[in-house]
């Protein structure tokens, strides 16, 4: 739990829906604050201030901060936590925020990041690759007990061994909700350069080997490169067979048609 008391100013906004995009010009982003004991309110927040004070803090999105919402001449302080950060998938820009009003004596669900510490034996000695599986673990606890992160020592991991959620030692007051069988870290053998991989092969008339591309690939590998795969029409509806025959004719007629 973070002890710093961060306060961020926000203003109720009238620009809803697509009009909210105009806020971007003034360095603000649209957000909404809601909770079980707080009505959903559309607000606008200064992006730079939020990024610096909240997202770049030690607790990151789990930081509990005071939101000073100004509505006309009145303003009120609300303790909130970041529920969701929506980003543009192409440039990573924040486009919207969901802030959740919290009550300090009510347990909440949130996700806490995992940090792996140390270099595994499997990486040092055997040249394996450390694969980070689950990066955030879902927990349920009182807002005051949310840890900044879970630190997990992976120094003893050998090649082809894993650490799971069940291996995590969380404090008693924290209930871990993630599946205990989920993998957090694993040391896997490095990717090897492979020999020629199977390529999809299509039958002579163009059907994807009428069902199985793998079979056609196998027959090609058996040393019949010149042989054209026979159209497997058995068990096909009449219409399908007809179209296959038409396809074969079209494929054969490589010279221009005479008129």
């Amino acid at each position: 739990m973070t002890k710093e008391q961060v306060e961020i100013k926000a203003a109720e906004r009238q620009a809803l829906g697509k009009k909210a995009k105009k806020l971007k010009a003034s360095g603000q982003i649209p957000a909404v604050v809601y909770g079980r004991k707080f009505p959903a309110t559309a607000i606008a927040i200064d992006l730079k201030e939020f990024t610096k004070k909240v997202l770049q803090s030690d607790a990151g999105h789990n930081l509990i901060f005071n939101l000073n919402v100004a509505a006309g001449e009145k303003s009120k302080n609300v303790p909130v936590i970041t529920q969701q950060v929506q980003r543009n998938p192409l440039n990573g820009e924040i486009i919207h925020l969901d802030l959740r009003h919290i009550v300090m004596d009510e347990a909440i669900k949130t996700s806490v990041p995992v940090e792996l510490i140390g270099t595994p034996i499997g990486v040092k000695d055997s040249g394996g690759v450390l694969v980070h599986g689950l990066r955030e673990i879902e927990i349920k606890c009182l807002p005051g007990n949310i840890p900044d992160k879970f630190e997990i020592d992976v120094a003893q991991l050998a090649i082809n061994t894993s650490l799971h959620v069940s291996d995590l030692k969380a404090a008693q007051e924290i209930e871990v909700l993630s599946d205990p069988a989920e993998m957090i870290a694993n040391v896997s053998p490095p990717t090897k350069e492979e020999e020629a991989a199977a390529q999809p092969t299509f039958a002579a008339e163009g059907a994807p080997a009428e069902g199985t591309a793998a079979e056609a690939a196998a027959s090609a590998a058996a040393g019949k490169p010149g042989e054209k795969a026979a159209p497997a029409t058995a068990g096909k509806p009449a219409a399908e067979t007809k179209s296959a025959a038409a396809g074969a004719t079209a494929g054969k007629a490589s010279e221009p048609k005479k008129k």
């Binding site: 980003r87 998938p89 192409l90 990573g92 990486v123 040249g127 690759v129 450390l130 694969v131 980070h132 896997s188 490095p190 990717t191 090897k192 350069e193 492979e194 991989a197 390529q199 999809p200 299509f202 008339e205 163009g206 059907a207 994807p208 069902g211 199985t212 591309a213 793998a214 399908e240 179209s243 296959a244 038409a246 396809g247 004719t249 079209a250 494929g251 007629a253 490589s254 010279e255 221009p256 048609k257």
Partner: protein, 136 residues
Amino acid sequence: MVLFPTKTKFRKHQRGRLRGLAAAGCTLNFGEFGLQAVEGGYLTTNQIESARKALTHYLKRGGKVWVRTLADKIKTARPAETRMGGGKGAPEAFMAPVKRGHIIFELGGTTMEDAKAAFRLASFKLPLTTRFMVKI
């Protein structure tokens, strides 16, 4: 290595549209680095495999590669020098429809410099504009 369907329900597919941003597959889920499509288009199995080989070849024994696209759409083509008509062309290859923002490859267990260099080589094998991205 490259995945494609072994059996298809229909012999030929309609092309469809690739407008807008990718709704899924636009966040890094496995590795620390990714190669993201900045424009939409289609990737054939050959292109995906060629780019994947470029990645693993550059990284030698280090790193792990995840391929986040699946070529499950059939591309058809007409034989060369044939006139129009006579129906749709014959199936030629499998291709993966890729929308803007879709992550094509992910990479883990390597340094950022190596990842950048490997993705640079891989991007030359692809017909789309791509960008390098790092997990936030």
